[in-house]
């Protein structure tokens, strides 16, 4: 009984993680280590909370995607430092988002059932993203953009455009995750509620070794422990704040284990070689 509840909870929690993780997989495959993903998830969640269903969904997608695209423009076209920008985008989103959603604090939304339209929309978005990455020329271009942008450029494909397209896909998925978190998963908003979900996605993308299918399994890792930490709160005397750190610690531990394991198999680490590096066209 308790186990069933745990499984259901984990599955529910895995949906937003998977959405954001796939977004991060697409972005990192394209060579962009978007640490601002946390900000995108947070901001879109805040917008969704401020407007409530149903318009909150749409507004969250629009704002979140635009915010993500801005990050991609600055980090690639303008070649600014991806890591610094990531922190800036996260902090800015915390500030703006918490102001925007101030009026929504403590007012629960009408929580729609999990089998609603959102679930289908989420499933479709996942299917489309996986299809793009594995089956299309765009997917190849995104992979090439992270592994060898100079060659991609020589082939005649615009690297900056490919990266921006990846940014849009990542933005849509991450803001869908944000909206889903507030409107479907929690059903309410407080300032610190969705903090950390975007960061987790950056990590789970790495746990999945940048493979969109493996992302499905990887998303369950933090989700299981998030659910578990809620469940344990009623049994254990430990501080809930301490318990809340468990999913993060476990995720990092798994990340380290996965990286060590792939090193041992002597297989080439599938990490995109240009991860976190802007592509600057060699002047001739």
């Amino acid at each position: 009984m308790a186990l069933e509840a745990l499984a259901l909870g984990a599955a529910k929690g895995a949906v937003p993680t998977l959405l954001a993780t796939l977004g991060a997989v697409v972005g990192q495959r394209a060579g962009v280590l978007n640490l601002g993903l946390e900000g995108v998830v947070y901001l879109s969640a805040a917008v969704a909370a401020a407007l409530g269903p149903p318009w909150g969904y749409i507004a969250a997608l629009v704002v979140g995607t635009a915010y993500n695209l801005l990050y991609y423009y600055l980090s690639n076209d303008m070649a600014l430092n991806q890591i610094l920008l990531g922190f800036a985008f996260t902090m800015a989103a915390y500030g703006i988002g918490s102001q925007l959603a101030q009026p929504a604090v403590g007012k629960p939304f009408e929580k729609p059932p999990i089998t609603g339209l959102e679930a289908f929309a989420a499933a479709t978005a996942l299917a489309v993203a996986i299809h793009i990455m594995l089956r299309t020329r765009l997917g190849l271009a995104i992979k090439a953009s992270g592994d060898d942008p100079a060659s991609l450029d020589l082939i005649g494909v615009d690297v900056y455009r490919v990266r921006k397209i990846a940014g849009v896909i990542e933005g849509v998925l991450a803001s869908a995750a944000g909206a889903y978190l507030v409107l479907a998963y929690y059903g309410s908003w407080t300032e610190s509620l969705v903090m950390g979900w975007g960061t987790l996605a950056v990590i789970t993308a790495m746990i999945a070794l940048w493979n969109p299918v493996a992302a499905i399994g990887a998303s369950l890792v933090p989700s299981i422990f998030i659910t578990l930490s809620y469940a344990l709160q009623s049994y254990l005397q430990a501080s809930p704040h301490l318990l809340n750190t468990v999913p993060y610690l476990v995720s990092i531990a798994v990340l380290v284990a996965v990286q060590l394991a792939t090193r041992k198999t002597r297989g080439k680490t599938p990490a995109p070689r240009w991860l976190a590096k802007p592509y600057i066209r060699e002047e001739r």
């Binding site: 020329r137 190849l140 271009a141 992979k143 090439a144 592994d147 060898d148 100079a150 060659s151 991609l152 020589l154 082939i155 005649g156 494909v157 070689r273 060699e282 002047e283 001739r284």
Partner: protein, 469 residues
């Protein structure tokens, strides 16, 4: 005069200025369908600039380009590709982490069509292999197939043999001839006379941005050589047969991951060459000899003192200099020429650099220019200036030190080694004739072992046979 068909591509009076230099000065050039027309010249003759103009990378400052008889302005490489011109450069437009098939799809090429073309061309390509697993020659052939699949009828090949092993050069030249038979117009850029003679229908020689002449079959190598260099450089054959001097450096039974057993001796005043078909462990052997990599077995002695397993810094202190095959391991790409020089230079570096520039004829506008902006040959000269001219090492270990250099500069390199290296040098080379002319002793490496060693007088046939064992 019989009515000739319009050439596939014709450039008239092409002039191009770069800050401070005239890169091309009124050059005429044309290539017909079904013809291989070579552009021959030493480094800095303007070959690459002309190719870049024909491919739309630069716009010419003066001059006209006619494509199939019609005047055309080529705006960009993408535009050139649309016009049916393709470039096979030294940087392949291939992504290592994708398979051959994925690369074709990424480039928007029909895979079946590419397979058919490969068959016509007599080239084997395995669609499921990752590009990272292909040899340089295989990648190059894949690039050629790609350009044919795009219906290109003019192929520009910029120093296509520079990175190939002798055997791969042979099969490339065969493919190039086949391209001409298929009716393509091929522009073949090289600084190697022998290759040009072997593959071309016509040869145009450039020198310092000017066209000297266009030659037709049959070619005379001496005439071509004289046209390439104002003062005809004779390849000086080093007079061998000196009195045997004492052994100053000795490596016994060295082993590494690819090197399985190598014993090498170097005598005072000697240049020893290590020859071998690419991929037989020469690069690792050089790393081991220089002390850059620790051997898993064997011993190294310098002047009778054992240095096995000592840190690289100690090898350096004892006067060993190492020039790796990959230039970017010896140069910091993003730093200036001066900063790169300062890696080994302590005082009066600007003056020293200017002197080296004059002595080795290095071409760079100012000491503060990024080293990545120099041509390959000049980058190599910066390395030579620093490691040999400046350091005056006791023992020099150099991997392909003359690759990418023209005849004149590689002559200079050997002269420099004879004058600046006080002990001796071990160089790995890919050209048998160069080794025979320059070395006092030749080691042949095969499958990780020193398969044979030769002393003068050398027999090229014997050496070549040992290399292909």
């Amino acid at each position: 005069m019989p009515q000739q068909a319009e050439p596939a591509l014709r450039a008239v009076g092409i002039t191009k200025f770069f800050p401070g230099v005239v890169a091309l000065d009124g050059v005429d050039f044309e290539v017909n369908k079904g013809e291989v027309h070579s552009l021959l010249g030493e480094n800095g003759a303007g070959k690459s600039t002309l190719i870049s103009i024909l491919y739309g990378v630069y716009a010419p400052d003066r001059g006209e380009i006619y494509l199939r008889g019609r005047r055309t302005t080529i705006h960009s490489p993408r535009h050139a590709a649309k016009l049916g011109i393709s470039l096979i450069s030294q940087h392949f437009a291939l992504v290592d982490s994708l398979t051959v098939e994925e690369n074709l799809r990424l480039a928007g090429i029909d895979v079946e069509k590419a397979e058919k073309i490969a068959e016509q061309l007599g080239v084997e390509i395995d669609m499921r292999r990752y590009v990272a697993e292909l040899t340089v020659g295989q990648r190059q052939r894949l690039e050629i197939v790609k350009s044919l699949a795009r219906e290109s009828d003019v192929l520009l090949m910029d120093e296509p043999t520079a990175l190939l092993s002798p055997r791969e050069v042979k099969s490339l030249l065969a493919v190039v001839r086949r391209l001409a038979e298929m009716g393509k117009a091929v522009v073949f850029v090289t600084h190697k006379i022998r290759e040009a003679v072997e593959v071309s229908d016509r040869i145009t020689v450039l020198r310092r941005g000017k066209k000297i002449a266009t030659y037709e079959r049959p070619f005379d190598e001496d005439v071509l050589l004289a046209a390439m260099f104002e003062t005809s450089v004779k390849r000086r054959v080093h007079k061998a047969g000196r009195a045997a001097s004492e052994v100053i450096y000795r490596a016994e039974g060295l082993r590494g991951s690819r090197v399985r057993e190598a014993t090498i001796e170097l005598r005072r005043g000697e240049v020893a060459a290590v020859l071998g078909v690419a991929g037989n462990g020469q690069e690792e052997l050089m790393e081991l000899l220089a002390g850059f990599k620790k051997p898993t077995g064997g011993r190294i002695f310098l002047d009778g003192q054992e240095l096995t397993g000592r840190p690289f810094a100690e090898f350096l202190k004892k006067g060993v200099a190492y020039i790796p095959e990959d230039r970017w391991r010896a140069l910091a790409k993003e730093l200036s020429v001066l900063d790169n020089f300062k890696i080994r230079c302590v005082k009066n570096c600007v003056e020293a650099l200017q002197e080296a520039k004059k002595e080795l004829d290095i071409d760079f506008p100012s000491p503060s220019v990024r080293v990545a902006a120099l041509s390959g040959g000049n980058q190599q000269k910066v390395i030579l200036a620093r490691e040999v001219w400046l350091r005056k090492p006791y023992v020099l270990i150099a991997s392909h030190p003359t690759r990418g250099l023209d005849v004149e500069t590689s002559e200079k390199f050997y002269a420099l080694v004879r004058s600046a290296v006080s002990g001796g040098a071990v160089v790995s080379l890919e050209d048998v004739e160069e080794a025979v002319e320059k070395a006092d002793r030749i080691y042949v490496m095969s499958r990780g072992r020193i398969a044979a060693s030769f002393e003068p007088p050398f027999d090229i046939g014997e050496i070549a046979e040992a290399m292909t064992q």
